[in-house]
């Protein structure tokens, strides 16, 4: 009798838990037809973890660098763990998370995130954090990122946060209940359209140009983590013209890189060397590069990575070459599809 009751109770708990789990899956945003950037972080886990270079940072990495070019031109196997408005503590914990799976030779971090010293926005937090697999790195990333209005429990049980989506569910919520669709090319978000940079506003005057203590603390942690793992940390400032990159910020990064023996590349100062043309190489007026711009600066970066760190050319590795042949085909297919769409408009 007692055994029967226990079985019934266990079954009841399982039924309730499964139903709630299914509801949660259904209500979670799928990031398929729009805001695809929300899928970027999660896509990494399906990859083979054998990368030479890992990029971390905000949209200035996932829209401005193309891992396909690093492979095709230099035989460097790379992946971008970027997400929209990725804050530096999120970059740090994403790096910790990455090191659970692999140890790259070089980590490239985009320094624009240094401008933020405290949590900013829940929507962006969720796009960076929800795709992470659970680990202490994710727990710490959530704790470091939450705004005053956010609750840790909502990250453990996202259904608490997304419950109101029930009235706006779409067919894709059912279609992608368990299935996924790739939205990036090794973390790179491709855009082929063109919108020249024009009338880019100068930065507003700031009362204090110094980066915050919290931001520096995480940059220090990132530098230390890389050093402890024998990884070369490279700081970059992507050639995005907006948000404005102040001279005072530039000086601080140059100083930091100098003091810590890090390579720092500011692509804003390398337009001639990279061949970047803001009339044709950006799709949104200078904020992000389009495919043509991303390929130009990635090619330039690849040469530096090869010269400075002597990364091996792995194009002769049969297995890896096969994987990249598939990736390249998808990349070219996406390029053609976007070009055709752009022509129609």
């Amino acid at each position: 009798m007692k055994r029967k009751r226990i079985i019934r109770t266990v079954c009841s708990v399982l039924v309730v838990a499964s139903t709630l789990y299914m509801l949660q899956r259904l209500l979670l945003p799928k990031y398929v037809s729009d805001v695809v950037e929300g899928r970027l972080i999660a896509e990494y886990y399906a990859e083979e973890k054998d990368h030479d270079v890992i990029f971390i940072g905000d949209c200035e990495v996932y829209e401005n660098f193309s891992p396909k070019v690093l492979w095709e031109d230099y035989g460097i196997n790379s992946y971008i763990r970027g997400s929209a408005q990725q804050l530096i503590w999120q970059s740090y914990y994403l790096l910790e998370d990455t090191l659970r799976y692999e140890k790259p030779e070089v980590v490239v971090f985009n320094v624009l995130a240094m401008k933020y010293d405290e949590p900013q926005n829940e929507a962006y937090n969720r796009m960076s954090l929800e795709g992470m697999r659970w680990s202490m790195a994710k727990v710490k990333a959530i704790q470091a990122s939450m705004t005053d209005e956010e609750h840790f429990l909502d990250y453990i049980f996202p259904i608490l946060r997304y419950h109101s989506r029930w009235s706006s569910l779409k067919a894709e919520d059912v279609e992608y209940l368990f299935a996924n669709r790739k939205v990036s090319h090794n973390g790179y978000y491709m855009r082929v359209d063109v919108k020249p940079a024009k009338d880019v506003p100068e930065g507003k005057m700031l009362a204090d140009y110094r980066f915050g203590e919290n931001a520096y603390q995480y940059l220090d942690k990132m530098t230390k983590l890389c050093r402890e793992n024998g990884i070369e940390l490279v700081l970059v400032k992507a050639p995005s013209l907006y948000p404005y990159w102040y001279d005072e910020w530039e000086q601080q990064i140059e100083d930091y890189a100098g003091q810590n023996g890090l390579l720092y590349i500011n692509f804003l100062e390398l337009t001639e060397e990279t061949g970047l043309d803001y009339n044709i190489d950006t799709y949104d007026g200078g904020l992000h590069m389009n495919l043509s711009g991303a390929e130009k600066i990635t090619s330039y970066l690849g040469q530096i990575l090869q010269d400075e760190y002597h990364l091996a050319d792995r194009r002769s590795e049969e297995r890896l070459s096969k994987i990249w042949a598939g990736k390249t085909a998808t990349y070219e297919q996406d390029r053609r599809r976007q070009e055709e769409e752009a022509e129609k408009q």
């Binding site: 009841s12 139903t19 805001v35 829940e122 109101s164 706006s168 009338d199 204090d208 907006y242 007026g285």
Partner: protein, 199 residues
Amino acid sequence: MRSMAWIGSIMMAAVLCGCGSNVKVIEGDVAIKETSAPIQEKEQEETTPGKAVENVGTAEDTTQYSGYVFTYDGTIISMDMDAAPIVEQLGEPDSYFEAPSCAFEGIDKVYTYGSFELDTYPTDDKDYVSTVVLKDDTIATTEGVGIGDPEDKVVEAYGSEWIEEDGMRVYEKDGMKLCFILKNDTVASIEYRSTAIEQ
């Protein structure tokens, strides 16, 4: 068994119907819709002349607006106001820049009119005023403070109750901020700022 079914039903009902008093609503593909702007819009609709071009405020009726307002050439600009009629009344800007937000739909817009810059943020299908930045000493706030004025003039116009924020002197009023950067006891920058963009 029956009690478990009840517990399960109650939990699901709570989850589906919503619980707590969150102001934000996550809808669509995570697009967090800040409800503050529409709320402010509603408040403005009740207290301001309205949204149509012919109803854009003029210098005589600044008292009808909440917060500190900026007045230029007879046009009153208040934070979180519908930007369309203001932009129309101000005429062709010297320059115009669009800054799409990363990932989300919607474009922040920057209009530059010689001596000041007007920024907008999108909510739903409308643009609202987010910031006005005074760029030189040829113009001043409605209360008469301009770039290059001494600190005393700021205190005289806005009082001695302010907060320090990111090194700025900030006067808060009705959910907006008037921010001054002072260098060597002199006004170096003036910015009207909506608090909606900070959320």
